[in-house]
C-alpha cells in the first residue's frame, strides 16, 4: 500500500467518500439486472427523491456532529408543510406561506434547542417529545385531512424543471454546497465540530457552546419545514402523514455516510452518499423485481454489507 496518494485522489480515500465504493457496486448490479436503471429520466427521479431527504440530512449532519440528536424532523416536516400550505391555500402569496412555514420550523427548532441547552434534558427525549407534539399539532390543525387543493404556481416548485432538471434537485444542490462550505470553511462550522468533539474543552477555549447547541436544532427545524413545503408542492397537497419514520431514516443515512453518532466528525458529502444509497437501494428493489415480501430482508443485508465494506477499507487504510 502506498504511503501517500497524490492529493488529487486523496478525496477518494477520505472518510466521507467511503460509501462511494459499495454504492457504485450496488448501482452496477442494479444496472446489470435492469438497464432501465440508467435511463436518464430514472436517474433524475432517483435524484429528485434523494433531494428531499438530503436537505434534512444536511441539517441533521450539523446536529450529529455537534453531538446532538433530532427525532422530531419527520413530524416537524409534516407540520411545516401543513402550516405553510394552509397559509398559501388561504390565498396568501406563496413566498409568505414559505416564510411562515420556515419560521415555524425555526421556532420549533429553537424550542428543542432551548430545552436541551437550558434544562440539560437529553436531546433524544426532548426531540422525542417534540416528535409526539408535532404529530399532535398536525392532527389538531388538520383533523387528519390533507391540505388540498393548492395553487398551481406553488405546485410548480415541486413539480417543475429547469432544462429538464427538477427545481428540487437544483435547490438541494445549492443547499448542499452551502452546508458543506459552512461546515468546512466558516468559524461556525468549526465551532460545531469542536463542540461535538468535546463540549467542555470547547467551552474552556471560549466557544459559546450553548449557542452552537441551540443553533443546530434551528437548522433541522428550518430544513424540515422547508422540505415539508417542497413535498406538499410535489404532491399538490400537504399530507398529515408526510415524513413518517424519517427520524430514523435520516439519522441512519447520515451515520451510514460516516458521521459519528457521538459527535465531532462527519461531512455533508458523506450524508449525501448515505441518503443516495438508501434511495438507490429502495429503487433497486423494485427495478430488480424483487418481491415485496423479500425486499426488507434484502435491504437489511445490503445496508450492513455496504457499511461493512466501507469499514473494512478504512481499517486497511489505518
Amino acid at each position: 500500500m502506498p504511503e501517500k496518494t497524490s492529493p488529487r485522489w486523496a478525496w477518494l480515500r477520505a472518510q466521507e467518500t467511503g460509501l462511494a465504493i459499495p454504492l457504485v457496486l450496488l448501482i452496477i448490479i442494479i444496472g446489470l439486472v435492469n438497464p432501465l436503471f440508467f435511463d436518464p429520466q430514472n436517474i433524475i427521479d432517483v435524484l429528485r427523491n434523494t433531494s428531499f431527504m438530503f436537505i434534512v440530512a444536511a441539517a441533521m449532519t450539523f446536529v450529529l456532529i455537534a453531538a446532538g440528536l433530532d427525532l422530531s424532523v419527520g413530524s416537524v416536516l409534516a407540520f411545516g408543510g401543513i402550516v405553510g400550505s394552509m397559509v398559501i391555500a388561504a390565498g396568501a402569496p406563496i413566498i409568505l406561506g414559505m416564510i411562515v412555514g420556515v419560521l415555524t420550523g425555526a421556532a420549533i427548532g429553537f424550542i428543542n434547542g432551548f430545552v436541551v441547552v437550558k434544562f440539560g434534558i437529553p436531546p433524544l427525549i426532548v426531540t422525542l417529545g417534540m416528535m409526539y407534539a408535532g404529530q399532535g399539532a398536525v392532527l389538531v390543525v388538520t383533523r387528519g385531512t390533507p391540505v388540498y387543493p393548492l395553487p398551481a404556481a406553488f405546485n410548480a416548485i415541486g413539480q417543475g424543471n429547469f432544462a429538464g432538471i427538477p427545481y428540487v434537485i437544483l435547490i438541494a444542490a445549492v443547499i448542499g454546497i452551502v452546508a458543506h462550505i459552512v461546515l468546512t470553511r466558516t468559524t461556525y462550522g468549526r465551532m460545531v465540530f469542536a463542540t461535538g468533539g468535546n463540549a467542555e474543552t470547547s467551552r474552556l477555549s471560549g466557544i459559546n457552546v450553548n449557542f452552537v447547541n441551540l443553533s443546530v436544532y434551528i437548522l433541522t427545524g428550518i430544513a424540515s419545514t422547508f422540505v415539508g413545503m417542497l413535498m406538499a408542492s410535489r404532491l399538490a397537497s400537504a399530507q398529515p402523514g408526510a415524513g413518517a419514520g424519517w427520524e430514523l431514516q435520516v439519522i441512519a443515512a447520515v451515520i451510514i455516510g460516516g458521521t459519528s453518532m457521538f459527535g465531532g466528525s462527519g461531512s455533508i458529502l458523506g450524508s449525501l452518499l448515505g441518503v443516495l444509497f438508501m434511495n438507490v437501494v429502495s429503487t433497486g428493489m423494485i427495478m430488480m423485481r424483487i418481491s415485496a415480501y423479500w425486499q426488507n430482508l434484502v435491504v437489511g443485508v445490503i445496508i450492513v454489507v455496504a457499511v461493512g465494506i466501507d469499514q473494512y477499507r478504512r481499517r486497511k487504510m489505518a
Binding site: 504511503e3 468559524t187 465540530f193 469542536a194 468533539g197 474552556l204 466557544i207 465531532g264 489505518a318
Partner: protein, 521 residues
C-alpha cells in the same frame, strides 16, 4: 481583531506591583469546603510557584481564576490590575488577560493541531470565514515557539502525550496573556522539553508576563520561581519571598511532616527470572509499515526494579503495552513468565499470567469515569473478589479501603466519583487497582505523574515493598533522578533498539542521555 503572536513588550511594569489579587476565596463541592479562605497575590513580571499536596485545592483555585468555575459558584473577590472582576466564563478571564493551561490536557483529538491552537479565535478572512492559510502559518510559528516540530495540519489524536502538553502551552501563548497559569505543565514532558519550557517562561517574564506555576516536580519549581506559595487542605500555609525559599521547609509545609529520605531504597533479594522477552517487534502506531520497537529482548528477575529510559517517542510505552498484549506485535515474540513460554494476545492473557500495567494516560486507559472509586480499584480483581459470579461486596470494600488508606487517597468516601478527585488522587486510584491484584510483574508507565512529594515517597516505598515481596517491576519515567534512585537496572531505548544496559552502580544521567540520544556505542 486580535493580533496574533505579538512579539513586542506587553507592558513595561515596575516589578512588585500587584497585578492580581485573589481575596478570601471560599469554595465548596457538595457542601465540602475545598478552598477555605485563600488569598493569593501575584506581582507583575514574576513567576509564582504554587505547590501543595494532591487535593490541596491548587487546580480548583486556578480554575476559579480562569473562569472555568463561574463567579456564582464561590465566595471571594478577584482583582486584576486593581479592578474587581467577575468572570462568568473562560471568555471573561481571557479578556482580562488570563490564560490557563489545565492539568488534564484538554484538546480536540479529531481536529488539527492548528485548529486546536486557535480554537475559539480562528483567524478570519471576513467575518465568519476561516483563513486557513493564515491559520497554518500562524500555527507553525506558535509551534516553533514551544519547540515543537510538527505538521500543523496533522490531527491531535496522532500526537504523543508530551506533544499534546506542549501544544496546550502554545495554545495559551497565542492568546497573548498578561497572566499565565500553568497547572502541571511538565508532568508529561521530558527533561529537555522541560528545559525548553522553563526557558520560554523566563523569556515571557522578561517581557512582563506574570506566571503562576503549579508542579509536583519541586526542583524545577525551585529553579524557576521568584516566589512561592504553599497550600494544604484548602488553605495557604506558607509564603516564601524571593531568595528565601527553603526546599526542605517547603516539602514539610506541603505534606505536614518531615521527609527524611526522598528515595528510600530497600534491599530486595534478586530472585529467579520472572519475565523474559525475546524478539519483540512492535509496529509503529501511526505508520504500521515501520517498527517503533525492533527485536527487543530483556529479562527481569523477582525483586528487581528495571528502569526503562528513553526520549519521548522512543517507544517505551509501546514496548510495555505490547508485552501486555494491549497493542499488536509483529513477528514471533517470545514471552516467558517464570520460565514458561506464555502466549499473550490480549491483556486478559497477560493478567492471567500475573502481569499488571499502569498506563501513562489515566483518563484514556486508567480509570472508568462513570464508575465510583471503589469499583475502579477493584476492576482488575473482580475474579478474586467474586463467588459464583457474584461480587463479594463486603470483601471488595474492605480490600479497597485497605489500599485507599495505604496510598492515602484523599476521599470523602469510597463511593466518590473518580472524576471528582484531584489529578494526583486519580493516579493513585489507578495504582491501587494493580496493587490490589497479586501480580508477578508490574509495568509502571510514568507512575508518579502529577503526584505530590509525600505520595511519591509512598509510591517509592510501595515499589520497594513489592520488590521485597518478589514482584518484578518495570518502570518508565521521564524524571531521571527518580528513575536512577528507584531502579536496580536500566535499559535505554532509542531508535527501536536497546542502546545501553547497565546496573545501578554505573548509572548516571549523562550515561542515560547519551544512549537515549543515540550517541553511545
Amino acid at each position: 481583531m486580535r493580533r496574533i503572536l505579538e512579539t513586542g513588550m506587553v507592558r513595561p511594569v515596575a516589578s512588585g506591583e500587584k497585578i492580581l489579587v485573589m481575596q478570601n476565596i471560599k469554595k465548596e463541592f457538595f457542601g465540602v469546603p475545598v478552598l477555605k479562605d485563600v488569598t493569593l497575590k501575584l506581582a507583575a513580571g514574576e513567576i509564582l510557584g504554587l505547590v501543595g499536596e494532591n487535593g490541596a485545592g491548587k487546580s480548583t483555585l486556578m480554575k476559579i481564576l480562569s473562569g472555568a468555575y463561574g463567579c456564582d459558584s464561590y465566595e471571594g473577590e478577584i482583582m486584576v490590575n486593581g479592578v474587581a472582576q467577575r468572570f462568568h466564563s473562560k471568555t471573561d478571564s481571557e479578556h482580562a488577560g488570563i490564560e490557563m493551561i489545565y492539568q488534564e490536557i484538554s484538546l480536540h483529538l479529531d481536529l488539527t493541531v492548528a485548529e486546536n491552537i486557535y480554537l475559539g479565535c480562528l483567524p478570519q478572512k471576513r467575518r465568519g470565514w476561516v483563513d486557513w492559510k493564515r491559520l497554518y502559518a500562524e500555527a507553525d510559528r506558535a509551534l516553533a515557539l514551544v519547540g515543537l516540530n510538527l505538521n500543523s495540519r496533522s490531527r491531535v489524536r496522532s500526537l504523543s502525550t508530551s506533544q499534546q502538553q506542549l501544544l496546550s502551552i502554545a495554545k495559551a501563548l497565542v492568546r497573548n496573556p498578561k497572566i499565565l497559569v500553568l497547572d502541571e505543565p511538565t508532568s508529561a514532558l521530558t527533561e529537555s522539553e522541560t528545559r525548553t519550557l522553563l526557558g520560554l517562561l523566563r523569556g515571557l517574564r522578561d517581557r512582563g508576563i506574570a506566571s503562576i506555576y503549579i508542579s509536583h516536580k519541586l526542583d524545577e519549581v525551585f529553579a524557576i520561581v521568584d516566589r512561592m506559595t504553599v497550600m494544604r487542605d484548602g488553605n495557604i500555609v506558607a509564603n516564601y519571598e524571593q531568595g528565601k525559599i527553603d526546599p526542605e521547609k517547603v516539602v514539610e509545609d506541603m505534606v505536614g511532616r518531615k521527609i527524611e529520605n526522598m528515595y528510600p531504597k530497600g534491599q530486595a533479594q534478586k530472585g529467579a527470572e520472572v519475565l523474559r522477552v525475546r524478539n519483540l517487534t512492535v509496529p509503529h502506531p501511526l505508520a504500521p509499515q515501520k517498527n517503533i520497537v525492533e527485536n527487543v529482548g530483556f529479562s527481569l528477575h523477582q525483586g528487581e526494579v528495571l528502569g526503562l529510559a528513553g526520549l519521548v517517542g522512543a517507544g517505551r510505552s509501546e514496548l510495555v503495552n505490547a508485552i501486555f498484549g494491549a497493542i499488536p506485535t509483529r513477528g514471533r515474540a517470545e514471552i516467558y513468565v517464570e520460565g514458561k513460554l506464555t502466549k499473550i494476545s490480549r491483556p486478559l492473557d497477560a493478567i492471567q499470567a500475573g502481569l499488571g500495567l499502569v498506563t501513562e494516560d489515566r483518563r484514556k486507559s486508567g480509570f472508568v469515569g462513570t464508575l465510583k472509586v471503589d469499583k475502579n480499584i477493584s476492576l482488575a480483581s473482580l475474579k478474586r473478589l467474586s463467588a459464583h459470579g457474584f461480587v463479594k461486596r463486603r470483601q471488595e470494600r474492605a480490600d479497597v479501603k485497605k489500599y485507599a488508606d495505604k496510598l492515602r487517597i484523599k476521599l470523602r468516601g469510597l463511593e466518590d466519583s473518580v472524576l471528582a478527585l484531584s489529578g494526583g488522587n486519580q493516579q493513585k486510584v489507578v495504582l491501587a487497582k494493580w496493587l490490589m491484584r497479586d501480580v508477578k510483574v508490574l509495568f509502571l508507565d510514568e507512575p508518579t505523574r502529577g503526584i505530590d512529594v509525600g505520595a511519591k515517597v509512598e509510591i517509592y516505598s510501595l515499589i520497594n515493598d513489592l520488590a521485597q515481596k518478589g514482584v518484578g517491576i518495570v518502570m518508565i519515567s521521564s524524571e531521571l533522578p527518580e528513575l536512577i534512585s528507584v531502579c536496580d537496572r536500566f535499559l535505554v531505548l532509542a531508535k527501536g533498539h536497546i542502546q545501553d544496559e547497565f546496573d545501578r552502580g554505573q548509572a548516571s544521567q549523562e550515561r542515560i542521555m547519551k544512549a537515549a540520544t543515540g550517541l553511545a556505542r
